[in-house]
Amino acid sequence: MDFFGITPSVLIASLIVASVPILMAAIGELVVERAGVLNLGVEGMMIMGAICGFITAVETGSPVLGFLGGAAGGAALSLIFGFLTQYLLANQVATGLALTLFGLGLSSLIGQSYVGIKPPPTQPVPLGPLADIPFIGRVVFSHDWMVYASLAAVAGVWAFLRYSRAGLILRAVGESHDAAHALGYKVVRIRLLAIVFGGALAGLGGAYVSLVRVPQWTDGITAGAGWIALAIVVFASWRPWRVLLGAWLFGGISVLQLNLQAAGARIPVEYLSMSPYLITILVLVIMSSGRGRAALNAPAALGQNFHASR
């Protein structure tokens, strides 16, 4: 059963792969926002992860080390954000923007000599006979380990926020930093940890773009994926499993439009490539128009800086 020469099982499998970068970045940002911090620098952290991961993988020949390098690159950039917003009390929106502008510049600076190189390939996890099951084998059991890691990250964040004491404290910090401070929790330290976690996951997502999705290095390779990840957190109304849904929705649209481009659909290429952004906007509108339900679910202290005056 084919539509325009697109096989459903291949489409779903590539949808899952396409959603990994934004899923990683979005689940990291979800933790950051649940701690009450709005880091708009996801795009910058992703692209730093993309180039750091790419360089590490090319120099060491190991994709695993590459992903670790990507996570380190994203986390390092997020530390700048953490220092500025948590210690120097800088405006979070402006600092996040600065992070993106700086990340785009720095990544293209350090990536200059890596343009046009192929990174070492990331192989699918060998699951033996499972991968041979018709349809399900192609859709579920034939991916590389990062796909499974991203799903594990969603489950882990969900369980952490819902069942662990540390998760409860993190949410408390995000809902009311003054109350959390009064109870003796280290607001700044907890937020810094959340920021670094978010940076590392954004870096992983970026590394997935440059090591698996594309796979090579060009300037501005993430092409707005970080901003879409931010939108997906709002779409998910700050709930982990809905982030997965949002990432798949977006992954599906981007795969579909690429397939339509390849199949030579009558719609001009430019209109197909703008469709993921347009649909993200549409989804944002639908979510926010539901009588402020999405807004009600937002962490109460989101975007506010904490200064212990007493």
Binding site: A90, F102, L109, G224, Y271, V285, A308
Partner: protein, 361 residues
Amino acid sequence: MLRLEKRPSPSRAWTIATPVVAVILTMVAGGIMFAMLGKDPVEAIRTIFWDPLFNAQFAAYSRPQLLVKAGPLILIALGLSLGFRAGIWNIGAEGQYIMGAIFGAAAGLAVYPVESRLIFPVMIIAGGLGGFLWAMIPAILKTHFRTNEILVSLLLVYVAQNILSSMALGALRNPEGGGFPGSRNLSQIPAMANTELVAGTGMHWGVVVAFVAVIAAYILLQRHILGFQIKLAGQAPRAARFAGVSPNRLVILCMGISGALAGLAGFFEVSGPAGQISIDFATGYGFTAIIVAFLGRLNPLGILLAGLLMALTYIGGELAQFMLGLPSAAIQAFQGMLLFFLLAVDLLSNYRIRLARKEIA
């Protein structure tokens, strides 16, 4: 142990001093970055900040470029600063800039080859309208559905870039261009060209409009009720609401003004320095203008100076690329660093740093 103590009101002295301190710190950090790239840091900084203006060999070319580059930056940053003051974050100026260029160019090219004095003014209006309409999308979504304007305006940049390439390849492509992408060259059509007004200065209509906008924005913020409402809404949103300031009206006005100014900047660029609608027309002025707005402390006169300084880093960066082989991305990172330092030293205008014994909490 250092402790921060909030000032009752921001320090006036530090408010003026912080941009200067930030620029100096950026020069130091940038120098370290250039040294790591294997360039002489002192020479690199001198090439960027001194040579474009005073080097006998290059100044004749570079000095006019200063106004050419500063014009769009100042125009966009002025609009953005109004919104930023009121807590309305339009960060999609790049998209509004592109749409202004497309609308303006399309209005003129639609009547080609008619020659009339009216064409240029009509194109200016169309350019402003294009940016205005593009900014109205996030504005109306914000007022009607409470959709986050930051994300929508930014995502629309990617949409605008796709529209731009579709225009350069399709509707606006030069029919006599031999199939190459890109529109007719507006700067070579007398009725549509945004020419240099005073030879050798780089002064074009966009720069004139930018200067007028600086004065208008200054009057708006200092003397007009709307300026007062913008400042009030930013500093005390609750008080603003009690005083009868409609948040929705402010969103529409701030987004509309910034969109229209960005659109104008786009039109003046496409009809003058850039010349034509092409795939690579958008060079990031809309994003750099965010830095300009903050560097100018969201103050019209500050933005004027900040725009000139940022234009200098562009020209100096090109010169350093040519003279020292400094990669162009280094300048982008340099500009990003400037915003970091600016936000960091801003602490000093809002807080006092006190020495204190170990805190309990």
